[in-house]
């Protein structure tokens, strides 16, 4: 493998890995803040226990998000130094702002939140978790603005004297329409992830507690409580109270957030798609396996063939009308360029070269992204139906199903980012069709002058280390989810004359 390939693999692996944890952090911080607010406002102990329970899972997740994020900050310089020189003037600014504005805020206030349970006044303590939630979302904005510059460079010009991109408007950079579309899409995806996490765990526990309450777990006794509450049933016990008072509201909170985030995802995805047809036609053409330019092409649902070869693609299932709508908001009269035509025109514009992304990956990740989001939709619609009007479902299959859907938004997020990033290939800075045509760079030009062996070393080290950490992360998450929320300690904190810390490592 060449040093470009190894560097691309490393960046791909470390970034996909980082973005396993990031969406959960971005979405869960506001949800935990919401739970704590519910506790402060209503004074109900259940919300306190939920805050603590999901707060602990949040912290386990946050640690790996931070650990994997550090690598990202330095990887540009290590592996993509020519890229860093070319765009540093532009790309560095949002990165530095992210550190200054967002990272300081989230890490400092998370420390205050974790250790401040008995040290800070209740409302100040509540404010700290909200500041964490704002911080994690602000950091997402800055890094997406930076990424959007690579997809659709604006606010900068190419200086032929220095051979570098030069920032001429920070405002244009931060209000790049690509960024303004991508940011809400990513945030909606993150809320979907965290809400599915909360809903999935909430439903699983709700089913579990309600079954325990009805005696023999594993015995006959499915169905919702209200439907089955006959004279033969044991009276609802403590665990049924928990299912009703704690888990059902938590699960429904998650489900409603899924619905809202889902609608936002569809809407922002549509906006983003329309921008992409204009700004990165090659990406969308290959996402549709659209090889030849066409007027009113059909939306491809399934194709077979080796997708890296345009000639062998056979369209199996197609839907008319959808693609023109996705591209321009019309059902007909839309002409789209195909991969082959675009390749010819890029050759004329940018010189000889292969300007096609990997067709197989872009085609399938686009479909995977949309399909995986269906997991969250399933649990939300099913769950809201099963818990309607005070019902507490006790079906064992529902409990398991709700656990099984938890990974789906994670997979959807990864697929979406792989599509976005690999659809940009071979560019690291894709030329803006309406911007400065010299503001462009391929990955071949961007890579550092390191030897393949050096980069292979770091690739192996990071992959192995991250692999181990992923196992530890999964073990801890699973262990803490199964353990469930702690009992509320009865007026602890006083031990003779010495006050114990509310939390200590």
């Amino acid at each position: 493998m060449s040093v470009v390939d190894i560097s691309r693999w490393q960046f791909g692996i470390t970034t996909v890995y980082h973005f396993m944890f990031v969406p959960l952090t971005i979405g869960l911080a506001p949800l935990v803040a919401g739970m704590q607010t519910a506790w402060v406002v209503t004074g109900k102990e259940h919300w306190y226990r939920l805050t603590k329970f999901f707060g602990k899972l949040f912290m386990i997740n946050f640690a790996l998000g931070v650990a994997t994020g550090i690598v990202q900050e330095f990887q540009f310089g290590m592996n993509w130094s020519e890229y860093s020189r070319f765009v540093g003037d532009v790309f560095g600014a949002p990165l530095a702002m992210e550190g200054l504005v967002a990272f300081f805020m989230e890490s400092t206030f998370l420390g205050l939140w974790i250790f401040g349970w008995t040290r800070l006044p209740k409302l100040v303590h509540l404010a700290t978790i909200w500041l964490v939630a704002i911080g994690v979302n602000a950091s997402a904005f800055f890094i997406i603005a930076a990424n959007s510059f690579m997809q659709h460079p604006v606010g900068a010009v190419y200086n032929p004297q220095t051979g570098r991109a030069e920032l001429h408007s920070i405002w244009q950079l931060l209000t790049n329409n690509t960024a303004l579309a991508a940011f809400p899409h990513v945030v909606a995806g993150s809320f979907l992830t965290a809400a599915t996490f909360v809903a999935g765990i909430g439903c699983w526990w709700m089913v579990r507690e309600s079954r325990k309450g009805r005696g023999a777990p594993g015995g006959p006794g499915g169905g919702s409580l209200r439907n089955h509450a006959g004279p033969s049933q044991a009276p609802p016990s403590d665990t049924v109270d928990l299912a009703r008072d704690m888990w059902r509201p938590a699960a429904r909170m998650g489900m409603w957030v899924i619905i809202i985030a889902g609608v936002a995802l569809v809407f922002t995805g549509d906006v983003q798609g329309k921008l992409m047809f204009k700004q990165q036609p090659m990406k969308m053409a290959s996402a549709e396996s659209l090889c030849h330019g066409q007027t009113d092409p059909k939306f491809s649902v399934l194709t077979v063939g080796t997708h890296n070869n345009c000639d062998s693609v056979t369209h199996v299932i197609e839907v008319p009308g959808v693609l023109p709508w996705l591209a321009e908001g019309k059902f007909s009269g839309v002409t789209l360029g195909g991969v082959k035509d675009l390749q010819v025109s890029y050759n004329e514009k940018y010189g000889p070269g292969d300007y096609r992304p990997n067709l197989f990956v872009t085609y399938w990740t686009f479909r995977a992204m949309i399909t995986w989001a269906g997991g969250s939709a399933l649990i939300a619609l099913l769950g809201l139906w099963l818990t309607r009007r005070g019902r507490i479902p006790g079906q064992r299959w529902f409990g398991w199903l709700s656990l099984l859907v938890i990974p789906t938004p994670f997979l959807g997020n990864s697929a979406g980012w792989v599509f976005t990033e690999m659809g940009r290939q071979p560019w690291v800075v894709a030329p803006n069709p309406t911007g400065d045509p010299h503001l462009r760079m391929t990955v071949q030009q961007a890579v550092s002058g390191n030897t393949a062996g050096t980069v292979l070393t770091s690739l192996i080290v990071f992959t192995a280390l991250y692999g181990v950490l992923a196992i530890v992360w999964f073990f801890l998450m699973r262990r803490y989810v199964i353990e469930g929320p702690e009992e509320v300690a009865a007026a602890s904190g006083q031990d003779g004359a010495v006050e114990k810390l509310s939390f200590a490592y």
Partner: protein, 354 residues
Amino acid sequence: MSLPEFWFLLIGVLFTGYFVLEGFDFGVGMLMPILGRGSETRKRVVLNTIGPVWDGNEVWLITAGGALFAAFPEWYASLFSGFYLALLLILVALIVRIVGIEYRSKIDDPRWRAGCDAAIIFGSWVPALAWGLAFANMVHGVKLNEHRQIGGNLLDLLGPYALLGALTTALLFLLHGAVFIALKTGGEVRESVRRIARIVVVPTVIVVLAFALWTQFAHGKGWTWIPLALAVIGLALAAAATLRGRDGWAFTGTALTVAAAIVLLFGALFPYVLPSSIDPSFGLSVDGRVVDGHRTVSASSTHYTLMVMSWCAVIVTPVVLLYQGWTYWVFRKRLTVEQIPPATGLSLQRSAAG
């Protein structure tokens, strides 16, 4: 002062903040196994002195990295691609340290804790040594060629000056961590850490002095005698205050020494950001000025970018300092073994009864 000079100063400030704050974090990690030997509770006292703040301290590095990228992309690109394996080692150390600190209390099992302790110890010693190595090499000059790439291999980084630099930061952070623990704890932990501080202070004074004088004579300017003097005063203050049990003054002393040492290094570096040992004209400088008759390569961004970043820094940095300072104020009380709550971690496996 020109904008590139201002940003050189600001990056110096960010690294000073990083080393003053993470210096004692590293020291705490290095001292945790020594002070906590035989007592899990003592170990936890030591670790929890940095509990609420270590993550915020570490962000100084991330922000310094981002600021390097924004203000001096050439410096960022050449340095990080050139010090590739050294940086990889630091990154691995920082990753395992984060995970070690955060996950240590999650599982109540001696083997689990031993694994996390190993991660914390590795993650504290390695950066404490490696940062000194990296900064000493930067000041000393590297094999930077006309393509702005650093040649040579890993062994080139291990010259005597660089190794002394590594020893300097490690010892300095060890002492800094010791006086920090003394300031933040009470009772038996404070007693034993003060004993350690009294032992560590002697070799630290010798090594820091040797490294500072070498830096001054090989690369210093007239005015860098001032930070050198301040570093010595800081160490003297730390030594005297440690002997008298004045923890606050001792910490002020080591913090002053760390800050002065970074100022000395950045002062010795200026106006270069990455001098070349092959040809002075290959060297990267803050603004591509003529140094000793050689036209150097400019590392800085454009005026517009630096101005935007200056506004951002001038507005946001005071706010960051304010709330970080407040965090230290909130958790200002001394920790003792009596305050440590019982372990709340789960067992490795779920008990059958649960």
